[in-house]
Symmetry: C5
Subunit: 278 residues, 5 copies
């Protein structure tokens, strides 16, 4: 297989992670009625977004630690939808008590390493070369087929799990170890092995990968969802020994959040943890 082969890739929902610090002093200085009105408004907006279709939802999480207090995770049909979500939050009454500390912009992505390998083998067997009309037609046909088959993963519903773990990552481009210089077959093998570890945790951890090359400062974003936060630690520790992570993984900041459903927004903003996430 001639190199470098770029894996076929499908894109779905546009994704924005917003990590806010809450301006607690100002919020608590607000009178009870204004707080109530702001929370009503915020809760209603969130409730609608929680109930939207796959690929159009938003969800809220209380974050642990000093990096930020609140994560809003938005899936939308496109970037205009994300800009609108940003403005909805900013223009809402609660918006002036939220300070945007971090964010991550990406697009749900499925990297079709296995399909890429197959199509290259098949077309080469038929004597076709990349760039020919037949080749391009075959690729397009594969992408269309997979796009339909994978629709629910490309436009996912946000899992209802209690915990979220988000982190951005790159594939390393070191002077000796450079992912983008590794032959396709090697990359495909490493991705496959990596997937086997993920599969072991399939019962306890749901994963959504989004691509951010050309969109944000890291190449990918990883969202893990689970009812057991230790599953994040075990899964990522085990994966770290995979060749692909050990040698080629470069990781950004990790954010751990606890789901705060719309009907409990009120308790969260009162600092009532058991009420907010119980």
């Amino acid at each position: 297989m001639s190199d470098p082969v770029v894996p076929l890739t499908l894109e779905g929902a546009a994704v924005l992670h917003q990590m806010f610090r809450i301006r607690w002093d100002e919020w608590r200085a607000l009178d009870a009625h204004s707080r109530h009105v702001a929370l009503e408004e915020a809760g209603e907006w969130l409730q609608i977004k929680e109930g939207a279709e796959g690929g159009e939802q938003s969800a809220a999480y209380a974050l642990l630690g000093h990096k930020a207090d609140l994560l809003l995770l938005h899936f939308r049909r496109d970037f205009t939808g994300l800009l609108e979500a940003e403005q909805n939050v900013r223009q809402a009454r609660i918006g002036r008590y939220l300070e945007l500390a971090h964010s991550f912009l990406s697009v749900v992505e499925l990297g079709l390493y296995e399909s890429t390998r197959k199509i290259h083998e098949e077309l080469a067997a038929r004597g076709l070369a990349p760039g020919t009309p037949e080749w391009d037609a075959a690729v397009e046909e594969t992408l269309d087929r997979q796009r339909k088959a994978m629709a629910s993963r490309l436009w996912p519903e946000i899992p209802e799990s209690r915990y979220i773990c988000f982190y951005p990552m790159d594939r390393r481009r070191g002077e000796q170890k450079n992912w983008y210089q590794v032959p396709f077959a090697e990359r495909q093998r490493m991705m496959h092995e990596h997937g086997l570890v993920g599969r072991k945790y399939a019962g306890s951890v749901r994963q959504i990968i989004s691509g951010a090359i050309g969109l944000d400062d890291w190449e990918w974003g990883v969202d893990l969802f689970s009812d057991d936060p230790l599953a994040f630690k075990r899964l990522i520790y085990e994966m770290r020994f995979d060749e692909i992570s050990a040698v080629y993984g470069s990781f950004g900041r990790f954010f751990i959040g606890i789901r705060a459903p719309s009907e409990k927004m009120d308790a969260l903003m009162r600092g009532d943890v058991r009420g907010a996430i119980g």
Copy 2:
């Protein structure tokens, strides 16, 4: 060809990217009339700059994420023109609601790798050596000719595309992989291959490269313009497998913006996304 050969380079318009955070709290605290007057003034200024000639325009973009809210992209005849643009924005009524979070200073640049190769070959064939008067005259003549031929690319109009992607970049100077130590012929080959990938996207992505060596903290700035933001992701992902990007590319922060034309500045500052960019 004796090394290190510095590629011949043409320079055109001076460029300034300004990324602002909007002080929403203060802006919204302003009375409606004052907001209206400030927006009228800003819209008029921007409208004039949108309609200026190539190499003298400004354009506004709403940015996604926490890095900044508003990108003003300025092309001018020289640095004094850019300083003036900076002061125009700062002294305008709207200026006190804009906090400059990032910027990038550069000059539109065309690297003439192909011409450099040709001229070196021709002159060497004629037995001339670099630094001789004949050599310098021939180089000057080439530059003049190209400067005329490339005038519209050196003093470009800002494309009307809906989306912009901006990022700064360096060529790596690692201990083993060092772009500035690669023989010219190798560099030229890699640039050529890189261009072929770019050409595949010519229908959907317009690109303006500007040079910043000696002007800002990265060596180049890249502006991509498209009506389909996923084209940024696909183009950059495909290019990342090119030898020149895989091995020698080092990238800064990525900024993604949606064009906000002057007549819709009002909607943008009201948080009306569909109105501002619809």
Copy 3:
């Protein structure tokens, strides 16, 4: 032993380090009565948490230097308990005078390198392979046994020592020196040698290791407790010559604190050092 072998690992209490800057100007501007009430409230809360069972305690330390002024160290049964501790501090009267400058989220961890080696040897001797039901059952049985034997280390009481030293760390994943690519037997030997140095200081330094892979920006957190702060320096200097630290250790920021017990919170916030920690 087939590689890469992931060491068996036990997890215990959830841990949150909170490093606060005290807003001294605002605090001192507060009237004496309000200060008294706030300190009473804070002191009572802390006293209860100091007296809680192992794995559910909190403790306060005055930090040296500019990084922060106050460290609150929380151990809890789970992450919800930690979020509650965060909210308790934030919602308390004293909370508005505390600015969260840093934090670290982790889980008490025991890495069972020795047990991992033994179980691999035994099971291999019995002809069993990893992933078989017998293998998994044997692993589960070992983990259960160790979890009981190690309960007091997994759910530790916070030592009463006068000084604390906290720092986060990674195992290096360099292009040549990569911990996650080292064969298990080598890793186990290095961990063992590392432990021998630690044991020399067992009389003067207590150590609690917590894991943060997938939870925070470093892989582990290290808490050392001692009545002699020079013991931290000697222990870590000696360890730095260990192969595991010299070659594979990567360290974050170091925080040094002096225990500030609940009954002396009052003196601490008055700036009375001898009264607060004497």
Copy 4:
């Protein structure tokens, strides 16, 4: 020549670069009379310093981009003179509208690579060894002679050029490529070649090198002065292919400024660009 040979070095004026952000909001909120008085005072101070002797001048530049708005460049006889310049600015009426964002402390420096080579050859030819009284006397005599010959470069007047380019730099100390381990003769050759490129631009660019080892966070500061800002870009791009820059150069942030003479301080602070620098 025995290694490592430290090149003989001459030091002249003490140099301080101060990069200020202007507090525009507060400045514009000031009444016209107070602004006038503050500008009179600042203009007079600057006028005196512009007219001082070489090695004792100050000059002002309007900076482009978000890093800072105003560069004050001070040359003085010693560090006490620089501290005084700092305090002059801070205590002036205009001082409270200037926020110090960056700075760089250094001493004008001439590295005598060529003289070092010669003296080593001569003295070795006479059979003398480094550290002997004869050797030290000969070195001292050379330094004295050069100090007189180079006086105007050691205590330079600030060029009147319209543009300034300032950046700090280090020589690389990598694991394989380490400037401080390169034999003296190699270093001297590379410095010599580097100088040849500089000489090509002698007509359009003036350069002042200052040393900051032991004084600030980078080893050297480079100030370039020109009436054509593109000359900075061309000079530095061409030099980047020199072995010394390509392999051993490590560069900090770049600052580009436009000279703002004292009599036009008023226009600059009104945001009147053409008036201030025209």
Copy 5:
């Protein structure tokens, strides 16, 4: 000599460097009487600390550049003494005009490379092995003897020199060049050569090394004291060519200060440089 040998090390005074930004606007807004009272109080405190015994003194320095304005250097018997010094400054009237921008926590340290070599040789000659009671007794006896002989260096008086240069440093732990993997005899030789360069400057520069492993973010702090600030530059430049610095040195930020004695605190805070340090 078996490796890795940890050099014997003596510890003395606890050291805290505090780098403050002065809140000039607020300070100048204060009425003259309150300023006077605050300065009297600060001056008296500092005078007492300047006159304390070796190992218990404090001193003040005016810093150059934007990193900070004022350095307070504290030597104390222990960390509680340092925490008290911190609180003394913070609780003083002047404290609210001082913003702590940087700090460094360490302990005066003497690394006994030469004694370590001797004792290893002697004990090995007597057939003793490390870790035996005889060996430990001999080491303890050496440390005791040296501790007495070196007392004035372990509990130093702060030199009265006009200038201070402070910087933190690490020994490199690179993938190829790793100080902590170098055989002891090599390390001892490099330390010895390094000391010879230092000795050349003994007449003009006094040096105090403090250790910070386990205490702060760098391994060591270096304080240089001189009446000629160019001596800092010359000493450090010459040392940078030493193998130990060239290959294994990694340096933090450099701070340059001018001594501001207690009786001139008043002039310093008025911005009267000649009065404060003349």
